[in-house]
């Protein structure tokens, strides 16, 4: 408990409090009057209103589109299911720069919807909403689908035997059991879309702005720290509220449910209704997820002089130009992997310790800590990044120019995933096994190794994979941290896109495709390691 607390205190709470303090505290003391002043501004009110309603709309839309898929993944057995589950999770870890490009290609002018239907959705709120569904589809499929697969279908069947109609049986039996998972997933989606940054920036055009975008603008562009501080606090309050509700629903979810082995609840789709449902879901996945990803892949192969590996070959030569800009893109892959490994190691240690502490102790304080660990997901990267600058500036903690800052920042985002994945499994470990081992003469370390480790090993690997993938795709915090010429993949992609010329553009697409592949492969490996009983909360 002490280690994760210290970690979060030092690398999250302290920097964030310091930068907020810099904005709100002057020589005359704290300027809380700023709140009223900033919140009264009509443009800020617009931002607040837009942030809230687009997040609500995105959440509802994501649920509508992804719930049928959660059902299909939970109940049906079909070829390629594992691959598909990995594919729908890929968007979750892709950098938004890349996704924005793909969506513009589909929904913008000359895009697919434009050519086929004459409909253009770029710079409309629809593009933002659809991209949010794209990103968060997996959250619903994994969270709700994971639980759904373990619900005993015989309960619903029993209700039908007793005379309930198909819908009534579902509404009265399955829905209440699922409700906490649905609520948890909704809140996660709401959290992610409420603090949406890149999607809104790229697809919304200049007329839409979320709180997160506004914090970035005020901090990075205008250096209006007081306004940024007020907005950060407002976002904090909102996220805190969401997390409080989330924590409650998660707790409710842990009330006893009769869970069964998911392997026993799945079957091949029967009858036309089920086949149609499966077909519908596959079509949605194809249109909504595979197609945008496909556009990027297509462009990466669309080299001059015909389709081929031209841009990929160019990636190998790019370092030859001999500039500090063109750190050979292949080196960027290596950088990314190193950073992601380091971030994963940190996230596993911190998250693992936190999860262990949360399992063993109860009470209000510990539950508050649980929520605290989630906060970094909802606090803007620029706030954390700029906070690092003004806090970690004295030896022995002058880390501002150190490589370790990048994995530290990435681990902040990875830890919540580790905690959420490990908690349910750790809570399921029977303490009596440990005691039995101790009675039989095992040292605490040995007992842990022989009892806990085998039980949590798979959860640990899943958690590692999530943390790894999140670090791999992390862009927001990384871009604000001064790096000694070691750009990560997403940073390299952004740099290439920032220059004119065909080769640069093509290489950006090729690098994005490679990033996608690395993500997909690591997620596929995870699917193989997926434990049967417990799927975690993601």
């Amino acid at each position: 408990m002490a280690v994760p607390l210290a970690f979060f205190g030092l690398f999250f709470a302290y920097p964030v409090v310091a930068i907020v303090g810099r904005g709100l505290k002057t020589d005359e003391g704290w300027q809380f009057g700023r709140f009223a002043e900033v919140l009264a501004r009509p443009d800020i009110a617009d931002v607040l209103w837009f942030t809230t309603w687009q997040a609500l709309a995105s959440t509802v839309l994501t649920l509508l589109i992804a719930l049928p898929a959660a059902y299909v993944f939970a109940r049906f057995e079909f070829p390629g299911k594992q691959l598909l589950r990995a594919v729908v999770t890929v968007p979750f870890v892709l950098p938004t720069v890349v996704v924005g490009t793909a969506f513009l290609a589909l929904l913008g002018r000359g895009g697919l919807t434009d050519e086929l239907l004459g409909v253009r959705l770029d710079t409309t709120v629809w593009a933002i909403l659809l991209a949010h569904v794209f990103f968060n589809y997996a959250v619903v499929v994994r969270t709700v689908g994971g639980l759904w697969a373990q619900l005993d279908p015989r309960q619903e069947e029993a209700a039908r035997v007793l005379g309930a109609g198909r819908f009534t049986a579902w509404r009265r039996v399955t829905l209440p059991a699922l409700a906490p998972a649905v609520a948890a997933a909704s809140l996660m989606v709401f959290l992610f879309t409420f603090s949406s940054f890149g999607v809104v920036l790229i697809l919304g055009g200049p007329s839409y702005s979320t709180l997160e975008v506004e914090v970035y603008r005020q901090t990075a562009q205008l250096l209006d720290l007081p306004t940024a501080a007020v907005l950060t606090m407002v976002q904090f309050a909102a996220i805190g509220g969401i997390l409080a509700v989330h924590a409650r629903t998660v707790r409710k979810r842990e009330t006893a449910l009769r869970l069964v082995d998911p392997g026993r609840t799945t079957h091949r789709p029967r009858g036309w209704a089920q086949r149609t449902l499966l077909g519908g879901v596959l079509l949605t996945v194809a249109l909504l997820i595979v197609l945008p990803l496909g556009v990027l892949v297509e462009r990466s192969f669309d080299a001059p002089g015909g389709y081929g590996l031209g841009y990929y070959r160019a990636l190998q030569d790019a370092g030859a130009g001999g500039g500090t800009f063109l750190v050979a893109p292949l080196e960027a892959i290596w950088n990314s992997l190193q950073y992601a490994l380091a971030a994963t190691a940190i996230a596993l240690v911190i998250g693992g310790l936190a999860a262990a502490a949360l399992t063993r102790r109860g009470g209000r304080f510990v539950r508050g800590f649980d929520a605290l660990l989630m906060l970094p997901l909802g606090v803007s990267a620029v706030t954390v990044g700029f906070g690092f600058l003004i806090t970690l500036d004295e030896p022995p903690l002058d880390l501002r120019t150190s490589w370790i800052l990048v994995p530290l920042a990435q681990a902040l985002v990875g830890v919540p995933f580790v905690v959420r994945t490990m908690l349910p499994v750790l809570r399921a470990v029977d303490g009596r096994l440990r005691e039995a081992a101790a009675v039989l003469g095992a040292s605490p370390l040995r007992a842990w190794r022989e009892v806990d480790l085998p039980l949590v090993r798979r959860a640990l690997l899943i958690a590692a994979g999530f943390a790894f993938a999140v670090s791999l795709g992390e862009f927001g915090a990384t871009v604000f941290i001064a790096r000694a010429d070691r750009p990560t993949l997403p940073v390299a992609v952004a740099r290439l896109l920032g220059r004119a010329g065909e080769l640069n553009y093509g290489q950006a697409m090729a690098l994005s495709t490679i990033l996608m592949l690395v993500c997909a492969v690591s997620l596929l490996l995870l699917e193989r390691l997926r434990p049967d009983k417990t799927s975690g909360e993601f």
Partner: protein, 365 residues
């Protein structure tokens, strides 16, 4: 022990191993810096934005001649990088900051982040670029933000491409121009400032009303404008861009040639020479620099002939010194902007926020 267990163990060990290894690498570098701190530090650190670039060989030559090792830190775009310097004032991360331009210059100077230093070789810099008489900053490069046009489009339609700001509001160029958000993008801001320079502190609003009536489109950043919407760029062609006019740089056409595959004989895009705003980028010695001597040598290096002549093909900007020769790519495919629009840094600093706000409510909302 099962195989999976072994693999898991190995993976974890590998993860931790990499961490420690990289840690050693990082420490080793820092140690050399720390150990030699006492008499003369051998490392000099340059803080810059993400676009900073120099040929390795050129940098190596400086390192060999001066005896310093140069460490480069890049942190985000120009605005964010400068703001980070202002936040760390007095305890900077490096010795020299490169990348403050004339639109942000006053913010940097008012915050007092630089120590005055008159660079060796300053006499060779064109005097019109030396904006700070106290030499807190030294001009390093200049670039022009201009409207670019798609040559093929105008040839096919048999209309002359626009040349001036006045042209852009004419009916034959209706719905052709895409520009960037002046609030978040530096070419967007540059184009707004070009109109301020040309039509005055009041007249620019009237001009933008006309531009809006003539169908100007605003997107968030240069990447979207240039790579997605502009029909003349490589990315735009692939993305079926529909706007033959875009706000970009005077150096964009040479870049299109350089990164063409194969390189075209002629640039596919051109520059409307009467639509330009001149950006000048400066470097300065940071107050509180740990290695002031090294920092001074580094500033001298940035205006040396070697670096000035390397810059055009690395950062696609123009040298500021009189004797630096431009590469053939620039003389052949680039244009020299004779009369760019200009606004004094103090005027920009005073009005910037208010102009951007007025622009936003006029054009975007």
């Amino acid at each position: 022990m099962s195989t999976t267990k072994k693999i898991a163990g190995a993976a974890l060990a590998a993860a931790l191993g990499v961490t420690t290894l990289s840690a050693c690498g990082g420490d080793a570098k820092d140690k050399t810096a720390g150990a030699s701190d006492a008499p003369k530090s051998t490392t000099v650190t340059l803080v810059s934005h993400d676009s900073f670039n120099v040929t390795d060989a050129v940098l190596k030559e400086f390192e060999q001649q001066s005896g310093y090792t140069v460490k480069t830190l890049k942190a985000g775009d120009a605005g964010a990088a400068l703001n980070q310097e202002i936040l760390t004032k007095g305890s900077p991360r490096g010795d020299v900051f490169f990348g403050v331009d004339n639109t942000l210059l006053s913010r940097a100077l008012d915050n007092g982040i630089f120590t005055p230093y008159e660079a060796k070789g300053l006499a060779g810099v064109k005097p019109e670029y030396v904006l700070d008489k106290e030499h807190r900053v030294t001009p390093i490069d200049s670039g022009d933000i201009c409207v670019n046009y798609d040559k093929a489009y105008f040839a096919e339609k048999k209309i002359a491409p626009p040349q001036t700001l006045d042209d852009l509001v004419k009916p034959e160029y209706k719905n052709l121009l895409v520009t960037e958000n002046a609030a978040t993008s530096s070419p967007g801001l540059g184009f707004l400032l070009a109109s301020v320079g040309k039509y005055g502190e009041e007249g620019w609003k009237d001009y933008w009303s006309k531009l809006k009536a003539n169908g100007v489109e605003v997107v968030d950043g240069w990447e979207q404008a240039y790579n997605e919407r502009f029909s003349g760029s490589a990315g735009g062609k692939k993305a079926k861009g529909d706007r033959p006019l875009v706000v970009s740089y005077a150096s964009s056409p040479p870049v299109e040639v350089l990164y063409g595959e194969p390189q075209p004989a002629e640039a596919p895009t051109g520059v409307s020479t009467g639509t330009c705003f001149r950006q000048i980028e400066f470097a300065g010695l940071l107050k509180g620099a740990k290695n002031e001597e090294g920092g001074k040598a580094l500033v001298d290096f940035l205006i040396s002939k070697k670096f000035q002549e390397d810059m055009p093909l690395q950062m696609f900007v123009n040298p500021v010194t009189k004797d630096a020769a431009l590469p053939e790519l620039f003389t052949k495919h680039g244009v020299v902007i004779e009369k760019p629009e200009n606004v004094a840094p103090e005027t920009i600093a005073k009005n910037r926020e208010q102009w951007v706000k007025a622009w936003t409510s006029l054009v975007v909302k």
